[in-house]
Amino acid sequence: MMHALMAFNGSLFVERMVNGLAEGSIFALLALSLVVVFRATGQLNFAQGEIGLFGAFLVSTLTLSGLPVWLSILIAMVAGFVLAAVLERVVIRPIEHRNPGAVVVAAIGLFLGLNQMHSLIWGPDARSLPSLFPSGPTDFFRLFGAAVYWQRFGIFLTLLVMLALLWVLFNRTKVGLAMRAVANNAESAGLAGIRVGWVLMIGWGLAAAISVLAAALLAPQGGLSAALMFGPFLSASAAATLGGLDSPVGAVVGGLTLGVLKAVIIGYVGFLGGDMVFTVSLVIILVVLLFRPGGLFGSERVERV
């Protein structure tokens, strides 16, 4: 017992937790954007990660032209909003009510197209992106003896700020009310005078802005390349599944859980190793879904015959 306690390195544990939370925050942001689209339209946007990547490339262009990082990210978020709103209107809307399979194919088309578009516009070489937070080797504070780097901790703080903003948007504004109404029942919302089409576009746009933020936070560590968002998107969709696809709270809990789980598996479960992280997460999610088919916080829809 004593021996086991001695072997346990407390500050290393804290460092791993913070790293896990930072990565989990990226997952949570992306999962949130998936949930925002799903609630509005019942669709899973496979291109969500790639829209974020588009924004991150835009951030790199803007910062290279001399703008500060935070301003570049804001501009890219707005651009991502517009891009996604247009894509929703032009690509998805016309087929929405015709065949769900066709919507999936169109979304996969968007995913492939946007992914390749980056190398068409910005060239195939990887780029680096400056961090929004101080990222020098001495930019850390101590917590229980562990070095907590601002670059990691800042990502977690950004998630909290984003959550607060979203809460205000959904619960304290007219747009948010309309979005909740459409998520609840699009037809009734339309009859009540809400312009459902606009709400769907705003939903896609909002989700895109969040993904751009996630990609811009991730790129300084991951390196900006076409493959940047594959892994995070998969983890985010797993996180959204775990939390419940229609629950923003679930997305955040699911994202943070997966991030911490990944850190714990890589750090402490040696025989599994990095390759098996996703497989282990999948098994856990499957077990959760067996008992709660709608995810941890999701609602199960009752179907009438």
Partner: protein, 360 residues
């Protein structure tokens, strides 16, 4: 339209209908025969790839087309079949005998995966199967399974030489042998699939797709139907994987067909062909393979990174926009302008007074 006139009505199952079906079948048969006898290596290889994809799509079509559930994880079954064949050939088996084993292995795993699928609906199942597609290559690389899979190195030298009794001349005719083997397996799988649909379980599947709750109320055993369908679907896709392994002559975890990209191509090929249509898998797989090849060639000829991918993506979006029910759906719509197939009307029976007490 003036010259067009009203569409001609053809009764389902009538001589005219049968002749029409035979002509369509004959058209495909003639194209394949012509290609199989005359085409040379690269061209025939691409067509073989398309048919292998069509077999995999036929498997997925069982689930999606006829139970309404989407799987984005069929690359795992494809890879499972390929690896079963590879591991057995590596241990000295005759390649042909590994195919049924691969089908059985994929069937069993498919049933196991199908079990949780009983509880999950729509997008949740899609996401779980997507996870399966991601987890599969990772498991191939997993160090404690390396004794079986040989890790990242994979398994090589999986050539399937034509057996003595075939008219093919050993290694020189290898590409033709692969093509005809693929055609025969595709025919078998298609016949099994279409017979399955007309069987009791097929009708149960369609009932589950159209309204799951209603089907359950009508007495359909959803658990049994879904599990068996998942298993059969996996088995078909697994055999496609076996073919893929011997055609490529090697397997390794990095091969795109075993990853999420493979699952996506199976899914996309199915949708652009047309789900729940008999000709859907073949038409979709052909369309997918040749459009993809054409887009890639465009990108390479112009030497612009990313151009091929963007062209392919635009074509996908256009197909989704203008043929939401796939190429077969589009062709049906066109056909409906000229010929309309109507269901056979039941012969009118004279009404007899009901004899009471005679019911059984």
């Amino acid at each position: 339209m003036a010259g067009l006139g009203t569409p001609r009505l053809v009764e389902h199952g009538s001589v005219q209908h049968r002749v029409g079906q035979l002509l369509l079948f004959g058209l495909f048969a003639a194209i394949f025969l012509w290609q199989g006898l005359t085409a040379e290596r690269p061209g025939l290889g691409l067509l073989t790839d398309a048919i292998i994809l069509a077999i995999a799509v036929t498997g997925l079509n069982l689930i999606t087309g006829f139970t309404g559930q989407i799987s984005i994880g069929h690359s795992a079954f494809f890879g499972l079949g390929a690896y079963t064949t590879a591991i057995l050939i590596d241990r000295g088996w005759t390649p042909g005998w590994t195919f049924p084993v691969a089908a059985v292995v994929a069937f069993v795993i498919g049933c196991i995966v199908g079990l949780p699928a009983l509880r999950l609906k729509g997008i949740y199942l899609a996401l779980v199967t997507l996870g399966l597609a991601v987890a599969f290559p990772a498991m191939l690389n997993y160090k404690h399974l390396a004794g079986l899979t040989n890790g990242a190195l994979g398994i090589k030298n999986l050539t399937y030489l034509p057996p003595e009794w075939t008219p093919f001349d050993g290694r020189r005719d290898l590409h033709k042998w692969m093509f005809w083997l693929a055609v025969v397996i595709f025919l078998i799988v298609s016949v099994v699939a279409s017979n399955l649909l007309r069987s009791r379980i097929g009708r149960a599947m369609i009932a589950v797709r159209d309204n799951e709750t209603a089907a359950a109320v009508m007495g359909v055993d959803r658990a049994q139907v879904k599990t068996v369908v998942f298993g059969l679907s996996a088995a078909m896709t697994g055999v496609a994987g076996s073919l893929f392994a011997v055609k490529l002559t090697l397997v390794e975890p990095a091969i795109a067909q075993f990853t999420l990209l493979g699952a996506i191509s199976i899914l996309v090929a199915m949708v652009i062909g047309g789900t729940a249509a008999t000709w859907g898998p073949l038409v979709g797989a052909l369309a997918y393979t040749y459009i993809n090849d054409w887009a890639k060639t465009q990108g390479e000829e112009n030497d612009i990174a990313g151009l091929g991918g963007v062209i392919f993506a635009v074509v996908l979006i256009l197909i989704a926009r203008f043929a939401p029910f796939g190429v077969v759906g589009l062709l049906r719509k066109l056909r409906a302008k000229f010929v309309r197939v109507v269901p056979k009307l039941p012969a009118v029976q004279p009404v007899e007074p009901v004899a009471t007490g005679d019911h059984t």
